[in-house]
Every structure is written in C-alpha cells, then in structure tokens.
Amino acid sequence: MNELSVNHLLGIKYLNNEDIQLIFETADHFKEVINRPIKKVPSLRDITIANLFFENSTRTKLSFELAEKRLSADVINFSASQSSVKKGETLIDTVNNILSMKVDMVVMRHPNPGASVFLSNHVNASIINAGDGAHEHPTQALLDSYSIRERLGDVKGKKVVIVGDILHSRVALSNIFALKTQGAQVMVCGPKTLIPKYIDKLGVTVETNLRKALNWCDVANMLRVQNERMAVSYFPSAREYTQQYGVNMELLNSLDKEITIMHPGPINRGVEITSDVADSDQAIILDQVQNGVAIRMAVIYLLASKIKQ
C-alpha cells in the first residue's frame, strides 16, 4: 500500500495501522532530507497550503510551516485569537473565502472539538487537524509514536504511560488512539480530577500513583498542565501537583529500569518535570520536535498525492 485510506487527517481514530506505518516510512525519507545540506525537495511546487490558527500556537505552527516550505509548497498563514463566530463570520465562510483564492489544503487549529470534522464536511479541500479543542492532535501523536519507534525500535508491545491533565488533552486522546492501534499498552496517570471518568472504555488502564506508573512503563509522556483550559481548579496548587505528579531525577534514579521521558511541550519546568530530567539523556523532547517536521512533511506529502489523483 502506498497511499492513505483517508483524504483528510482529522484524527488518529480515523486511521488504521497501515496508514500510520506508511506515514512513518515516508517520514524516514523526509528525516533524511532535512538533515541534508539542502533541506528541501520540490515535491509540492504546485500545492498551496493555508495554515489557519484560531488558537495560539508557536511550535506546531512553525513546524507545519517549515514542513510545507521544505516540500516547496506555497504557504499562507491566517491567525485569529478570536473565533470566527465571535467576529461575525462563520468558520465555513472564512475558509471558503480563503479557498476561493485557489488553496488546496488547510491546516487548522481550532478551540472546538470536532471543528476539523465539521469543516471537512462542508468545504472542498484536504484538511489537516492541527489540534481541535480536547479532541485530537493527530500529528503530535504520530511524531510521539515515531519518536518511540526511533528510540526503542518499535511501538508494538511497549508500555506507555501518559501523565498529567488527561481531561483537557487532545494530545492524550490522539496518543491513546495511536498507541493502541500500533499494539502498545497504554496507561494514564494523574489526579482523578483530571482523568475522564470513562477513559477506561478506550482500553487504557488508570493509575493515580506516579511511582507505580513509572515502574510499570517503558515510556512516560509527561503532559503540560493546561491551566488555560480549566474553568475551575482541579487541584489546589501547582506545588501540590508537582509533589504528586512531577518527575525529578531522584524519582527516575530510584526506578528499577531506565525509562524514556517525553513531553509535547511547552514544558512548565519544575512543574511536570524538573530541568535536569528535561535535559537528561533519558528525555527525547528535542527529538520529538525534530521528528515533528518530518512527520508533518510525510502527512502533507501523502495527502497532497491524493489531491493530485
């Protein structure tokens, strides 16, 4: 198989394992490209991509833009801190206006769950979800799995714990779907207030004790505490959170084995992980960032090849 089963990347839940492996194999090639002296290929010279960010983003937006430019696509950027509805224009109208300027592909970040699914049902362009509310962030999960594969050889059979604010996290949800699809075992760990009540129905185990979770796992993916998404306080203070769910070097050294530490960024140093952990050899946080460009190049390339058909 050399093409994706989908025309959009709306979420990991819409992909099968063959899709994921195809993206990884394609990313292997692009990772080699971006480490060359000339980091660019002419593959998408005839493709125009709009990056629509209805929510703040730094690294995801940069990563997408870089991926698009490395593929020689034409790129336009649209950022709005306010939602389109609040400005009086609907999302469909906003996007159709941009598409009428002959844009082929839309990369969208949006604060509402399902916004990319909604858009894909109503506009005529290939859509890549760059994060929609607490729903999915598929390219993040793909680059996370890709980084595990790079570090540990394979994702299948590995034990991965996702630590922190699972309730508000699209990264957690996409990672759960991606890891389960590839045959990994998944655990979530955090205070009960930040774990969805029915998360076990997604086939993951729940552990509220961090030490037990870390002793179980091969990889710990430490999520950022998303204060900006919380309407109420789910724990009394950052200090108390760190006491229970912060990873420090002392804790890591006390485990039976050496585990791999991941973080989707941006890190709250001293909250979910200490600086010495973030900067240690066990952490692959910067590898994740580099792999993000290769993964996004792969996704864009594979979806663009479907447009051209």
Partner: protein
Amino acid sequence: MNVLLKSATIIDSKSDFHNQTVDILIEKGVISKISKRINNTNDYREIHLDNLHVSQGWFDSSVSFGEPGFEERETISNGLKTAALSGFTAVAMNANTNPVLDSYADISFVISKGQNNAVSLYPIGALTNGSKGENLAELFDMKNAGAVAFYDYQKPIKDPNLMKIALQYADNFGGLICSFPQESKITGLGVVNENYTSTSLGLKGNPNLAEELQIVRDLFLLEYTGGKLHIPTISTAKSVSLIREAKKKKLDVSCSVAIHNLFFSDSVLEGFDTRYKVTPPLRTQEDIDALIEGLKDGTIDMVTSDHNPIDIEHKKVEFDYAEYGTIGLESAFGALNTVLSTKKAIDILTKGKNRFGIASKPIALGVKAELTLFNPKTTYTFTKAQIHSTSKNAIFNNVELKGSVYGIIANKKVVLK
C-alpha cells in the same frame, strides 16, 4: 362543520368503541353518530382515507414557537399548522420567547395569536421574571390569563430556596411548577452525555449525576412543601427510579420524556452532527430501556416532542457553538409508534392534558370532536419533505419511521394534509 368519517378504526382504550372500525358522523363539531355504516343523507363532506385510524386528539406538553421575538425560527401561526398536520390538537407552548412570557399581557398576547385555530394553544408562563432564576414572576396573574404551568424553559432553578417558595406559593391556587432537571454546576460546560462518546470525541461531558442530583433536590423540596411538581424531559435510568419511588410515596409529581431521548443513544454523535445536540443530552441504550420501561409502568406520565425550531445559522456551526434543540412535532408519532405498540403510543400521546388542567373526554356520542386521524402501518424515511416547520433542524432526518398522520378534526375545523 359537518363531516362523515368513513371506515375509521377507533383507538381509544377509554372509549366503548375502542378497536372498532366504524363510520363517525360529526355535526357542528360534535360527534353525533358512531355506527358500522352511516348513510350520508345530508350530503356532508365524506372522508375516506387508507387504513384510517382515529383517536382522541394528541397533546404535547412542550413546544417552542419563537413568537414573539424569534419569528425567523417559527411563528405561532405556522407552529400550530405544523402541530395540526402532525396530529396534535393541543399544545403547551414554552415561555422561551423574546421577551420571555412572564406577565398577564404576554400570556394574553399568545392566547390571542392562537385563537380560531384547529389546535388549542396553551401557554406556559415563565417561573421567574425573564426566566433569570432570581424573582418569581406573577404566577397567579398569569394563571388568570390562561397559563397552564410555570417553567423557565430548560433553565434550571439554581436556588433551592426559590424552588421551595415557588412550590409553596403556587400551591395556593393549584399552579403546576416545572423544574428543568439539571444541576448546573455539575453540568459545567458539558454539552453531551458523559460517557465513551464524549471521551473519545473530546466533547465536554454532562453526567447523569447532574440530572439526578437536581431531581433528588426537587423531590426533597416537594416532600417538604407540598404542591404540584412537573419534571420535564428526564433522560436517565436513575431519574426514572427516583420518580418511581417518589410516586410510591404519593408525592404529587409528574414527568415527561422527549421522544428523541427514547430513540437515539449518544453513539450517533460520532460525526459531531449538531442536529443531535439536544438538552438533556442523548444518553445510553440502558437509559433508553429504562425510560421505555418507565413509560410502560406509568412512572413517566407523558412524552413530548420538545419541539424547538432553531434556524440554520445557529445549527450549521462548530458543535460547541451550536444551539440545543430539535424540531419534533412532525416525527413524533412515527418515532413513538416505531418504539412502542400503536395502542401504547396513542395512550401516551393522549395523556398529560389533565396534569395541565386541560379537560379531555373519551370518544363517545355527544362529545366535542377533538380527533387525530392517522395510519399506523405506513413505513417511510423521514425527510425534509415531511417538515412543515420554518426551521429544519430535525433530529429524525433520514430515519426510518412507522406510522403517519393524516391530520386532525378539532375546534370545528378539519385540517388534513
């Protein structure tokens, strides 16, 4: 108005003519003769319809028509026409207009707009001024104007003392107090049922707990205050058992369920389709089973379409931004007749009036004709072709249903499709 209905099967378990296929003569709006065969000696209008069934006119205890203030969604005139073509001879209209119906004048306005119609329109007054949940509206005055109950439509009364006072105060004049079953702090920003679907879609969950906690509160209050409480649109299995227990204790409580909550589980939300965005949210199959059981054993007193027209501009948007609600009058019978037997569906559609102080009589000679004409056997896919409402936000769009409506005879008028 004089009409002769030919070969009509009467479905009315309280009538002596139940299950009989007869001719029905209606003269000057009154049933004057029921017999195996009636000769049309006076050359009245004859109505022959395929597999014609006739029942007492149906009642819907919760419809929204948008007038005044949201006429782009629905007007009273077209809303009543929709009700008639959907088989309803009486509807209770919610106060969720702009301005909210919270005064004698507002209630009088709605009543005047509904006059001279085949369908009888019964306004529900707001429980609090502007439905803001702060101060009681002039309930007694509104009752005198014709309000049949008091309800801040789909807005929970957050203050327990306000609910206590409302129940006590309305008991002075037999007023029916309605309380939307939702504890808003527990609901938080929840938009769909909290379950597997909400978790996998990243949509904020509205747990069963929010509904049940409010019902427990209101039942405790009712036990203390006395009075008449109606809980509109329950949706969870535990809500059914809570109300079942309360009725065993002889509390004066009634409740309804929205027909779509009997039909769809939250799994339909997978595609983020906003037509499924309703409140209370679609729950699970276990809840549906318990709700149907509650209907069968009489714990749930009535069903409602909870007809709520929303214009496309407020539905064709991102899920979180879309408004709650679906139209439901047109699909009400077909949906109910699909999940229940025809006899049970008709029993339930003709119940509820008494609770709202509206008289009803079984089909008999000398009784004012207030009849629904239908065919319980037809099967079809519900589409926009069946929609008469101004707004088209139908949750039942593209769903297979069984049973269609011909129309009604009521208030000396005949309305047929």
